[in-house]
């Protein structure tokens, strides 16, 4: 790795108009374990791959509930994510308190985006070293947003961030057309399939390293955010396995070609 004169802080432009500190912060996101998010007409789903430091240690939390209508999945510095999630929880609670309304997703995403931007324009601050997937429902239906350390936010149909997430994104792009009209349970399976794509040869999805979060709204009726972890994911993973073995002949043909 080489240093240059323009990467000491986030308040210096390079001659090409780049801000290296921000770009380096994006790298921190790629070090985090992968998380995947996707939406259909009624639901938003987050799935994450949890890492443990060693065999006997616990697993790092990947999905954080912000409110009953919204959650985030994180990749990168977990402590930065905690700062942001605490902020989001406060804002969400504030909206419920003053207006009796769950905070609209685009609103809260814009708020963390603005916060992150501030860190890239003022000396003495550093960009957040975490990327987020924000999933939830509001009056306008289900949403999925990607948040980056630069303060850039995008509304997505599906997204994956973190280590080896390119594999997941390839899966998502390939199956993009199937998401919108699929069922809640199918959407979860698509998420898990995308997650599985990122695993290295010796790894597999287990009830210990898999997190699944679902939130939805069907005909105006809200389904509060539900986090599946540990034993609760067993059934979901079982379905995944069945699907894979069943689809092994039919589907893998085109995938492998």
């Amino acid at each position: 790795m080489f240093r240059n004169n323009y990467d000491n802080d986030a308040v210096t432009f390079s001659p090409q108009g780049r801000i290296f500190q921000v770009e380096y912060a994006q790298e921190a996101v790629k070090q985090g374990s992968v998380v995947v998010g996707l939406v259909n007409k009624t639901h938003a789903v987050l799935v994450g791959l949890k890492r443990n430091a060693e065999e006997l240690s616990s697993y790092q939390k990947k999905i954080i509930e912000i409110d009953s209508h919204m959650a985030i999945a994180i990749a990168g510095l977990a402590s930065d994510a905690r700062v942001l999630s605490n902020f989001m929880k406060q804002q969400s609670l504030g909206s419920k308190m003053t207006y009796g309304r769950p905070i609209p997703l685009d609103r809260i995403v814009a708020q963390i985006g603005d916060r992150a931007q501030t860190n890239t324009q003022h000396y003495g601050k550093r960009p957040y070293g975490v990327g987020l997937l924000v999933a939830g429902v509001d009056e306008a239906g289900p949403h999925l947003f990607e948040f980056q350390p630069s303060g850039l936010t995008h509304e997505m149909v599906a997204c994956a961030i973190g280590a080896r997430s390119q594999m997941a994104r390839t899966y998502l792009e390939r199956n993009l057309d199937k998401f919108e009209d699929c069922s809640r349970d199918e959407l979860i399976q698509h998420g898990l399939s995308a997650l599985k794509e990122t695993l290295s040869q010796d790894k597999e999805l287990t009830i210990d390293n898999t997190s699944v979060g679902v939130v939805g709204v069907t005909n105006g009726k809200k389904e509060s955010f539900k986090l599946y972890e540990g034993q609760e994911t067993a059934a979901l993973l079982e379905v995944l396995e069945q699907r894979e073995s069943a689809g092994a002949e039919g589907e893998s043909m085109e995938v492998d070609s």
Partner: protein, 260 residues
């Protein structure tokens, strides 16, 4: 000659004793507004099957003086929410600006997620409660009309103390005493909302406005009425009370010219 204008017009010290200036003291607890100045009187609202109707007269009084006679005390918020203001008019103007800036903020993004009448009411009640807790109340009693999150007709009140109250028909100020009994007779408790038509609700409001004009000395015969339905707000701001008959007043002391 007394050269101090501040003492002019005061009771003479040599006759009435020294003026008691104690109430003018500059020390002691800080005092904010302790009474309204220019005021609007009653607001009346009725829910019906498919929306809410709400009315106020167009008068702003300065004490007992009918000071401004074309004041609009019904203010719309978004496409189907309405606030009717009773009480201090300058505080109402402040709240109107507050709601205006909130409306602008809400419309930064164009799609969905508008605040409904229920959200608005929750917010206004919080503003009132905060201000009264600072002992600096906004001297109003408002009715908020429109729809709630489920799309049902919504009507609720909030006052200067932050008190909230909700009912199928509501009235503030003098109306709470004079209009509510009329509305309760017309729309008894056991009558389901589905049976209350828009026409009946509007008719009842007109009746209430008339009775209020008869008996509320701080009212005027010009009024505003709004009907809020899913299609939007139908606001009329220059209505005249129809079919008055003052015959009843003939032999009642306090009305018109009195001989003894």
């Amino acid at each position: 000659m007394d050269h101090f204008p501040g003492t002019w017009g005061r009771p003479r010290n040599d006759v009435y004793g020294a003026y008691d200036a104690s109430y003018l003291q500059t020390t002691g607890p800080k005092a904010h507004t302790s009474s309204p100045a220019v005021t609007g009187t009653s607001v009346v609202g009725v829910k019906f099957n498919g929306g809410v109707a709400i009315a106020t007269d167009n008068l702003a009084s300065y004490g007992s003086l009918a000071r401004f006679s074309d004041v609009k005390r019904l203010r719309s918020f978004g496409d189907n929410a309405m606030v009717g203001f009773g009480g201090d008019v300058s505080d109402m103007q402040y709240l109107d600006r507050l709601l205006e800036s909130m409306d602008i903020r809400e419309n930064y993004s164009a799609h969905g997620n508008m605040l409904n009448a229920k959200n608005l009411h929750t917010y206004l009640a919080k503003v009132f409660y905060k201000r009264r807790s600072e002992f600096n109340p906004l001297w109003n009693h408002v009715l908020v009309a429109g729809f709630d999150g489920e799309g049902e007709p919504f009507l609720s009140s909030a006052d200067l103390l932050g008190t909230t109250f909700s009912a199928p028909h509501l009235a503030t100020g003098f109306g709470a005493h004079l209009a509510v009994p009329i509305l309760r007779r017309k729309f008894p408790e056991e009558m389901p909302l589905a049976e209350v038509t828009q026409e009946a609700a509007v008719e009842a409001l007109k009746e209430c406005m008339k009775v209020l004009f008869y008996r509320d000395a701080r009212s005027i015969d010009k009024y505003s009425i709004a009907v809020i339905t899913k299609d939007g707000i139908d606001l009329k701001e220059d209505e005249q009370i129809q079919g008055q008959s003052w015959a009843f007043a003939e032999r009642i002391k306090g009305y018109g010219a009195q001989v003894v």
